[in-house]
């Protein structure tokens, strides 16, 4: 098995899984019914993408399944990004987190559709259509909140300021990135930074939101198996039944 491809699939799959889980937590809490529908749609797409990547990861590893990887893996073996682990503080946070990830996903998956790994390029060709729609939706909301009222502008600005530090991790290269780049499977994370920044800053500026200063946030990242305190609680909830009844199948 190629450990690095496995690791790479976990990173993408776990990130979509955990973000979808956060969206699930928000069920029936949206500001309007139409938005309950829209955000659940995004959550479902992410869950589908997670399943595709985790299925592939399970096949690469052998003798396991996507469900086992999801529900029986230990926290330190997860590879999700810190940004997706952050909690649902309010609509501004939920939306900003989504927008930053949508921009990242669009930048990343536009590369992955040309991956030398046919499985990854196949999953990505389906996913990019969904991601383009996700970004359209979150961009529209960034403009609404940024340009709507003074209050909404402040709340959005606050969320952007608070979440900005987590974007640092998106563009850090680790050994997996270097290997993926070498095998033409995926781009170096660092190569995504410029196109991502252009995408993010042009929308934020159009929405009268100031782009925070870039800062290094931490030397330990989710993609290396070091997580926020939030992840433990997410997994405790998500994995509760399969761990409580280890002999049962669901």
């Amino acid at each position: 098995m190629n450990d690095k491809i496995f690791d790479y699939c976990l990173r993408i799959g776990d990130s979509s899984l955990i973000l979808s889980h956060r969206i699930g937590e928000y069920c029936s809490k949206a500001p309007i019914l139409e938005e309950d529908l829209a955000i659940t749609n995004v959550g479902l797409d992410l869950l589908g993408q997670a399943e595709s990547f985790l299925n592939y990861a399970a096949e690469l590893k052998g003798n396991t399944t996507a469900d086992e990887l999801t529900f029986k893996r230990k926290e330190k073996d997860f590879r999700c990004l810190h940004l997706v682990q952050t909690p649902n503080i309010d609509f501004a946070f939920i939306l900003t987190r989504q927008f930053l990830i949508d921009c990242y996903h669009q930048t990343l998956f536009n590369q992955l559709i040309n991956s030398q790994d046919e499985r990854i390029s196949g999953i990505s060709k389906k996913a990019i259509k969904e991601i383009n729609y996700h970004l359209k939706r979150s961009t529209e909301w960034i403009l609404r909140l940024g340009l709507g009222t003074d209050h909404s502008n402040q709340r959005l600005q606050n969320a952007v300021n608070e979440l900005w530090m987590y974007t640092d991790e998106l563009f850090i290269d680790n050994e997996t990135d270097i290997k993926m780049d070498k095998l033409n499977i995926g781009p170096l994370s660092s190569s995504l930074k410029n196109p991502w920044e252009q995408l993010v800053t042009s929308t934020l500026r159009s929405a009268s939101i100031e782009v925070p200063e870039a800062n290094l946030y931490s030397l330990q990242y989710g993609k290396n198996g070091f997580h926020t305190e939030y992840l433990g609680y997410i997994l405790a909830e998500m994995q509760h039944l399969p761990l409580l009844y280890p002999d049962a199948s669901w």
Binding site: C27, I32, L44, E51, G148, S152, W250
Partner: protein, 313 residues
């Protein structure tokens, strides 16, 4: 005089199964009954998202998580069709929500019961959605056009929900000892509330006769309840589940299942607000609505600014 003539023509249309459309003349009581019934139906879909959302973060497989999420999304969609259908009667959605929050509008009492285990996701789909479908299939023939058309769309998705619930029950009934116990416990708790969903007996139902005459309702509460019981018992026996009613047996004369008297005290107690979840469900909805106020205000302000910009361009 004029109204009397209109009323006769109106009843003739109903008797000929011609649908009533939003711009057609209708008696005020017909309009009020529909406003009450359709908005109550919409609220039920929306409040019903909560007991299922309760297990979305704990669904035990990727497949079940996906299906549950899709199902809850469908319910939001059903709520949307129904609010739109109700709005054709001249009331805005914001008003419907206000009546819900003030306790003036009801939703199905069954959603005030708590979902305590994963098996409840099976029982809610199988029994609660199963009961709802019996009612909704009948309502596809309701006399008000927008309501009837919403029902056709909703019924297609609801039958998928019921199968989803039944699939969970099959899996649990064929699972470990603990899973079987979980399934039985869920049936014990959800059987009677799902029977009560059809409302009071025909002899006690306040709105029934006129609604049947106007074909707002097409069949009586007791007829629908009996149809649900008859079809569900067989399914339960197939799974080896026991229904919590010792008097449930096939009557060879009527070819229907007889059942014990329903505990209407419990029913009315929950309707009046004393169920386990009444306050919780309503407070949840009110909080989400209030938390979202600034977002709605921003969206409206942005839309106004965009319109101004377009006009001046």
């Amino acid at each position: 005089m004029e109204d009397e003539k209109k009323l006769i023509q109106f009843q003739q249309k109903i008797d000929q199964d011609i649908k009533i459309e939003p711009r057609d003349w209708m008696p005020e009581k017909y309009r009020q009954t529909l406003i009450r019934q359709i908005s109550q139906h919409a609220h039920s879909e929306i409040i019903g998202m909560q007991p299922e959302g309760n297990w979305l973060t704990r669904a035990p497989s990727l497949r079940s998580k996906k299906i549950l999420m899709a199902k809850i999304q469908d319910e939001a969609g059903h709520g949307l069709y129904l609010y739109c259908a109700a709005e054709t009667l001249g009331i805005k959605r914001e008003q419907f929500l206000q009546w819900l929050h003030e306790g003036k509008a009801k939703y199905s009492s069954v959603f005030n019961y708590p979902t305590l285990t994963w098996a409840d996701m099976g029982a809610v789909g199988w029994l609660v959605d199963g009961a709802a479908i019996v009612n909704q299939v009948s309502l596809q023939g309701t006399s008000y056009g927008p309501y009837a058309r919403a029902m056709v769309k909703i019924c297609m998705e609801e039958s998928f929900h019921q199968r989803q619930g039944f699939e969970i029950m099959v899996q649990l009934a064929n699972g470990t000892k603990e899973q079987k116990e979980m399934a039985q416990d869920a049936v014990n708790r959800w059987w009677w509330p799902s029977i009560m969903m059809f409302g009071p007996h025909d002899s006690e139902s306040a709105h029934s006769n006129q609604s049947l005459k106007w074909k707002i309702k097409r069949e009586s509460n007791d007829e629908l309840r009996q149809r649900f019981i008859d079809k569900t018992i067989e399914q339960g026996h197939h799974l080896g589940l026991i229904f919590p009613d010792p008097n449930l047996k096939l009557n060879p004369e009527t070819n229907h299942y007889d059942y014990s008297p329903i505990d209407w005290d419990e029913f009315w107690n929950v309707v009046k607000g004393n169920g386990a979840g009444n306050r919780q469900r309503l407070n949840h909805h009110i909080k989400a609505h209030e938390d979202g106020k600034w977002v709605r205000e921003a969206a409206i302000a942005y839309a106004k600014k965009s319109n101004l910009k377009q006009k001046s361009a």
